[in-house]
C-alpha cells in the first residue's frame, strides 16, 4: 500500500511521515517501510527511505534482529506461485543490511501443509542467511494433522509443553508463545492455562525495566475477531506484562503490517514472505490476495528490529522485497 489514508497523519511534527495520534489509530501500511523507535511507550518513526540520514545509534542500536513470517512453503496458487523465490529475496535483503542482525525470528506458518519437504526447503533457504540462529513459533499451518509433533521435533527443542520458551539477549527478554494449538469451534487463537501459568512464572524474576519482546503467530491483540485475527486469552498474558516499562509484541498470521500502541505495549504484525491478505473486513474472506506479479514484492517483506540498550527503545523497520 503506497497511498496513505486521509486520517493517518494529522500533525507530522517530526517530519517523519507519521504522528503519534495517527499511530495510535492503528496504522496499517503494507510494506511501505518504516523505522519505529519506541521510547517510554512513545513511538517515533522514520520512513525507510530516510534511514541513511539517521545516526548509527538511531538506526542500529546495540542489538538488531529480523522478523520474518508466513513463508507458507508449498503454497503454489496464483497469489504467488514462487514462495521459495520470495523467501530467498527476503534472505538477500537480510544479508544486505548494513550490519548483520544477531538472529532471525520466524513467527510461524513456515510451511503451508506441514509437509517435511516444505520445512526442509525453508531450512535450506535460511541457511544462506548471515544470522545463524533462528527462533521459531508455530503457525496453524505448521501443526496440521499431528498436533504439532513434527514442529516440536524440528524446532521445539528446549521449549516447554507445546513449544513455548524464553531467552535473553543483551539485556532484553524474548518470549516465544504458541497460540495455534487446540483451537475451539467458533473461537480465536488460544494460549491456554498451562502456558499462561508458565509465562507468569517466567516473568517473576525479571526487573520491570527489562525490555520485553513477545512473539507469537496469531496477533495477541484483537485485529479482527470476525476473521479469527486475535487471541482468546491474550488479555491475561498482557496483564502479566503490564508491569514492564517496554513491551513489544510481534506477530504474523495476517500477512500485512499493522501497528498499535497501548500504554507501554507496542503491537506489530509482520508481512508475509509468501502472499498478501486483505485488510480486515475489506474482502469476503481472509483468503490470499491476488496482486499483479510486478506488485507482489511490494506487499511482501521482512521486519528488522533494533534494540537500543539502556534506552528502553525498540526500532521496527518494515521493508518490502521490491
Amino acid at each position: 500500500m503506497t497511498g496513505k489514508s486521509k486520517d493517518e497523519i494529522l500533525h507530522d511534527r517530526n517530519d517523519d511521515g507519521i504522528d503519534r495520534r495517527g499511530f495510535l489509530k492503528c496504522m496499517a501500511w503494507a510494506g511501505t517501510g518504516a523505522l519505529c523507535v519506541m521510547s517510554g511507550g512513545v513511538l517515533k518513526s522514520h520512513s525507510l527511505s530516510r534511514l541513511p540520514g539517521l545516526s548509527p545509534k538511531e538506526a542500529m542500536g546495540e542489538l538488531s534482529f529480523v522478523q520474518i513470517s508466513d513463508s507458507h512453503m508449498g503454497f503454489n496458487k496464483p497469489a504467488n506461485p514462487d514462495v521459495a523465490g520470495t523467501l530467498k529475496a527476503a534472505v538477500d535483503k537480510i544479508n544486505a543490511l548494513p550490519a548483520a542482525p544477531e538472529f532471525l525470528l520466524h513467527t510461524g506458518d513456515i510451511s503451508h501443509l506441514s509437509k517435511p519437504e516444505e520445512f526442509d526447503t525453508v531450512d535450506q533457504i535460511l541457511k544462506s542467511a548471515k544470522p545463524k540462529d533462528v527462533f521459531y513459533v508455530p503457525g496453524e499451518h505448521d501443526v496440521l494433522n499431528d498436533d504439532g509433533k513434527q514442529f516440536l521435533e524440528r524446532y521445539g527443542k528446549g521449549g516447554k509443553g507445546g513449544g513455548w520458551y524464553s531467552f535473553d539477549k543483551k539485556g532484553a527478554h524474548f518470549i516465544g508463545l504458541v497460540n495455534v494449538m487446540n483451537l475451539k469451534a467458533g473461537g480465536l487463537g488460544t494460549l491456554g492455562h498451562e502456558q499462561l501459568q508458565w509465562l507468569e512464572d517466567d516473568l517473576k524474576h525479571l526487573k520491570h525495566s527489562t525490555p520485553m519482546v513477545v512473539f507469537a503467530h496469531i496477533p495477541l491483540w484483537s485485529v479482527y475477531p470476525e476473521w479469527g485475527w486475535g487471541t482468546e486469552d491474550s488479555a491475561q498474558a498482557l496483564a502479566y506484562l503490564k508491569k514492564f516499562g517496554s513491551v513489544t509484541v510481534l506477530n504474523g498470521h495476517i500477512h500485512q503490517t499493522m501497528q498499535k500502541v497501548e500504554g507501554n505495549v507496542t503491537f506489530h504484525t509482520a508481512a508475509s514472505t509468501a502472499f498478501p491478505q486483505p485488510q480486515p473486513g475489506k474482502a469476503d474472506s481472509p483468503g490470499p490476495m491476488k496482486v499483479p506479479a510486478e506488485q507482489l514484492k511490494s506487499v511482501l517483506g521482512i521486519t528488522d528490529v533494533n534494540f537500543v540498550q539502556g534506552q528502553h527503545a525498540l526500532a521496527v523497520v518494515d521493508s518490502t522485497l521490491a
Binding site: A79, L113, E140, N145, L183, A185, G187, G287
Partner: protein
C-alpha cells in the same frame, strides 16, 4: 386516515401471501432432498455452504475445499475428523445415527457448520 389503514392491511396481506409461497417451496425442496444419499458441502471463502445441512439417516456428506487455503472438517464432539484438505480435496462421512453434528475447521475455528441427521 382510513386510506392509510387500508394500505397497511393490504401490505400485511401481501407479506403473508409471499410467506405462504415460500413455505410451500421449502416443502418441495425438502421432499426432493429425501432421495439422494450423498450430499455435498462446499468450502468457499472461508465458509461452509450450506452452513446447516439436514439429511436423512444413512446419508454420506462430502465436503470439497474450493479455497486456495487448506481447511479441515472436524466434529466438535469428536464424531469425525478430516485430514487437512488442500484445494479441491474432499472428505466424506456417512451419518448412520440421527442427531445434530456441529463441526468446524480446526485451522480457522471461526468457520463452523452443522449437519442435522433425521
Amino acid at each position: 386516515m382510513r386510506r392509510s389503514v387500508s394500505i397497511a392491511v393490504l401490505t400485511v396481506a401481501v407479506v403473508i401471501g409471499v410467506g405462504t409461497v415460500d413455505v410451500g417451496q421449502k416443502d418441495l425442496l425438502a421432499s426432493a432432498q429425501q432421495k439422494p444419499e450423498t450430499t455435498e458441502v462446499k468450502i468457499d471463502n472461508f465458509s461452509f455452504g450450506p452452513g446447516t445441512l439436514t439429511v436423512p439417516v444413512g446419508t454420506t456428506v462430502t465436503w470439497t475445499n474450493r479455497d486456495d487455503i487448506p481447511h479441515t472438517v472436524v466434529s466438535t464432539e469428536g464424531a469425525f475428523k478430516s485430514k487437512v484438505l488442500d484445494t479441491d480435496e474432499k472428505f466424506a462421512y456417512t451419518f448412520s445415527k440421527a442427531g445434530t453434528y456441529p463441526y468446524f475447521c480446526s485451522i480457522h475455528p471461526k468457520m463452523t457448520g452443522k449437519v442435522i441427521v433425521q
